[in-house]
């Protein structure tokens, strides 16, 4: 298409303006790509084949209420349950209350069966299971505090009446929390408190994903009328519950994104208006030479879309490049285990670029294409 040459020439004619426009749009699309990714991550937590088979059972009324550890045996016998372990939120303080990270006292019996997506060297796993005061930590967590296997860690009891004195026996990666937590023996926890025999939640591994709703019903039915009724749901639903607690994030993000898009349209429109106004005479010449209105329109639209799309692609791919080089799991202490700018998001950003380009050129291009040749030629260059 010979138009491409003309198009590029026009864009390169005022290089500074083109660069500033593209940059401004790129920055805004970078933001939109980031916001869209945040939304995606909050609404679709990472899943593995193993995590898809997990359920969480908690006290029906509140996550804070504990469940009798005796429930475990009963849950294990429910049809469809392959393995189950109980875990308790420890919530201790490591040196400074500001050093927040997830800590659980989990019974060890079937821990690794349910958490089959945790990757840990066999040797470390064995040592952990055998050491009552041992602990395993996620690799991101280890990186954050510089822990190595063999290190001694003390977690000051904030919620519970004892300090946990632990030894790091293994470092794991993967798992539902993407290597961001610390686990130690529930047995040690229970003993230190005088064997009260309670735990916080139960994690269940289902035989198959299809059976999950049925399993959830069966487990809850078991304890329906007891003093500690339960609520069982898939791990994914459980995690999403936290995100929904944060409020209507979706509304906030889409609102901001919409306003940002509107802003970009203004920026692009301003550029196109400036550019077209300067070239009124030139456009008149093109028409006098025989270019049809539709061709002029396509040319101007093409320029506008080229600039906007270029900005959109630079911004969104820039976001992708940036976040693939940042360990978001570490930066957010496991809150955002993954921050991946998906191809879908990139496509949406590209679409926004095209959309903005068309709208921005819209009015000035249309009126320029329509202006009578003689009026255009009369304009002083």
């Amino acid at each position: 298409m010979k138009f491409i040459g003309l198009l590029l020439h026009n864009i390169l004619r005022n290089r500074r303006r083109s660069i500033l426009t593209v940059t401004s749009i790129a920055v805004s699309l970078f933001l939109i790509a980031t916001l869209l990714t945040l939304l995606t991550e909050l609404e679709s937590p990472p899943e593995t084949p193993d995590s898809a088979l997990r359920l969480i059972t908690r006290h029906k009324v509140s996550l804070f209420n504990s469940l009798p550890v005796a429930y475990r045996a009963k849950i294990a016998q429910v049809e469809g349950v392959e393995a189950v372990f109980g875990s308790m939120w420890f919530g201790g303080v490591y040196k400074d209350p500001k050093n927040f990270f997830m800590q659980f006292a989990a019974d060890t019996d079937q821990f690794f069966v349910v958490n089959a997506d945790m990757v840990i060297p066999e040797g470390q796993r064995k040592v952990y299971l055998e050491d009552r005061t041992g602990a395993i930590v996620g690799e991101n967590l280890a990186k954050r505090f510089g822990w190595k296997v063999g290190d001694r860690i003390t977690l000051e009891g904030a919620l519970w009446d004892f300090d946990a004195e632990l030894t790091v026996r293994g470092i794991y990666s993967g798992g539902g929390d993407v290597g961001s937590s610390l686990f130690f023996h529930w047995e040690y926890f229970n003993e230190a408190l005088g064997n009260p025999g309670f735990t916080g939640t139960f994690s269940i591994r289902a035989r198959s994903a299809e059976e999950i709703p049925a399993i959830a019903d069966r487990v809850d039915a078991l304890f329906q009328n007891s003093t500690a009724p339960t609520k069982t749901e898939s791990e994914k639903t459980f995690v999403l519950g936290f995100a929904s607690m944060m409020g209507n994030v979706r509304l906030l993000i889409t609102s901001i994104a919409s306003v940002v898009i509107f802003t970009i349209v203004l920026v692009a429109a301003n550029t196109m208006a400036m550019s077209i106004r300067e070239r009124t005479r030139e456009i008149g010449i093109l028409k006098a030479l025989g270019f049809r209105r539709s061709q002029i329109l396509s040319l101007l639209l093409g320029e506008s879309v080229f600039l906007s799309l270029a900005g959109a692609l630079i911004g969104s791919f820039g976001a992708r490049a940036l976040f693939s080089n940042i360990n978001m799991a570490m930066v957010t202490a496991g809150f955002l285990p993954r921050f991946y700018v998906t191809p879908g998001t990139l496509l949406i950003c590209g679409g926004i670029g095209v959309f903005v380009g068309v709208i921005a050129a819209g009015l000035p291009a249309w009126s320029a294409a329509r202006r009578p040749v003689i009026a255009a030629l009369r304009q002083v260059a």
Binding site: R16, R17, L20, T21, T23, S24, I25, V27, S28, F30, L31, T34, L35, L38, K60, V61, S62, L63, F64, N65, G91, V93, P97, E156, G157, A158, L159, T227, K231, G241, F242, S244, M245, M246, G247, N248, I256, V259, V260, F262, T263, L266, V267, A269, N270, T271, A273, M274, E278, F335
Partner: protein
């Protein structure tokens, strides 16, 4: 220093009004977003900062970060309330109230569930929470499964209107009163009788004790007494300070808001720069005329900077006006510390408006600097020698 009349700048901006408007509009929308985010964070934080009365202390477990995960023996209440310095009412009763906190899961109007904080308190508790004004219904009666909910909660959650009943723990609880604490953190709570809650949850403990001291000095004294006593393992915090420390909930939103402000600010700078370069380039001969008349480079630079400042200011005003309707809009988010929902309103204060305007002016200056320099560098010769 600015000898070139403002009329010139304003006239030039008005002559090219579409471009000026679009740029000011772009800056304005950016300011609107920034102001809204500040109003969101400000509203959340002020909810905490404005909670708490002087001379009142909250006593919780040593090592607990807040009431929700604090628990201690009921016997300790007797010891605490007779400490010297604890104020008494006119009947000689100590102004101290033992309270229990539990968290329930309840559905919002839209359908999704969220955690809500329930506070079990005694009659004395109402005395110590004078900020709670009953706006509908009546105070709850002890010994019954009656609850009072805050006005914000009743508007946001299902079945929390006056007369409704909700089910949690082992029973049905009836909403007999709606209260409003004027924007404090207590506006996110459900209140019930202490004994009923302790019974239904089978937790004969206290989460916290709220007490009033005779004076600031007395408060200090009580605080020290509690801290020094190793056996009881408790800590006393001023009620104000307790809530002020909970602002960490806003951390996530703050970071997001800051990130957005910076990125959008940069984008806006480029947009302003683009517009000003366009203006400078098209006024090359005018600028040459000014130089020929004798205006110095400095004056030209200053003049164009002022012009971009005007555009920035216009954008700032537009932005604040656009954001204004958000003031007072109510919403809620997770108080991760208390693991429940905290309700608050968007709050646009004069300080926020000022910061928004400052942001706009900064964008104007940063964006306009390079073009202004370019204008000042206009070489007479280049223009004269057509």
């Amino acid at each position: 220093m600015i000898k070139i009349p403002l009329r010139y700048n304003i006239g030039s901006l008005l002559a090219r009004w579409p471009g000026t408007l679009m740029t000011a509009g772009g800056i304005g929308l950016t300011v609107a977003i920034v102001v809204t985010m500040m109003a969101l964070v400000g509203g959340l934080e002020s909810t905490f900062i404005e909670t708490g009365r002087d001379n009142q202390l909250i006593v919780i477990r040593q090592g607990s970060l807040n009431e929700v995960n604090s628990y201690f023996n009921r016997d300790l209440f007797q010891m605490i309330r007779f400490l010297p310095g604890v104020a008494k009412d006119d009947r000689g009763e100590a102004l101290a109230s033992g309270e229990i906190i539990v968290v329930i899961n309840h559905a919002r109007m839209g359908g999704e569930s969220s955690n809500v904080l329930v506070r079990g308190l005694s009659d004395m508790g109402f005395v110590l929470h004078p900020e709670a004004k009953i706006v509908a219904g009546r105070r709850l009666n002890p010994g019954l499964r009656e609850i009072m909910v805050s006005r914000s909660l009743s508007q946001r959650f299902q079945s929390m209107a006056l007369g409704d009943s909700i089910r949690f723990a082992r029973s049905e609880w009836k909403v007999v009163g709606i209260f409003d604490t004027g924007g404090t953190a207590y506006d996110s709570e459900v209140w019930a009788d202490y004994n009923e809650i302790a019974q239904d949850w089978d937790r004969p403990i206290y989460s916290s004790i709220l007490l009033r001291a005779d004076s600031p000095a007395a408060a200090d004294q009580i605080r020290r007494r509690v801290a020094d006593d190793q056996r009881i393992n408790l800590q006393a915090i001023s009620q104000r300070q307790y809530f002020a420390e909970q602002t960490s909930s806003s951390m996530g939103i703050r970071t997001l808001g800051f990130f957005i402000a910076v990125v959008m600010g940069i984008g806006a700078c480029f947009a302003a720069m683009n517009m000003m370069y366009g203006a400078v380039m098209s006024r090359a001969t005018e600028i040459a005329a000014l130089r020929a008349i004798g205006f110095r480079r400095r004056s030209i630079l200053a003049s164009f900077l002022v012009e971009s400042l005007i555009v920035g200011a216009a954008g700032g005003i537009i932005g604040c006006i656009v954001a204004l309707p958000m003031h007072g809009v109510s919403t809620g988010t997770a108080n991760f510390q208390a693991f429940s929902e905290i309700l608050f309103n968007f709050r646009i204060t004069p300080a926020i408006v000022l910061r928004g305007l400052l942001f706009a002016l900064t964008v104007g200056v940063l964006g306009g600097y390079l073009p202004a320099r370019r204008a000042a560098r206009t070489r007479l010769i280049d223009v004269m020698r057509e």
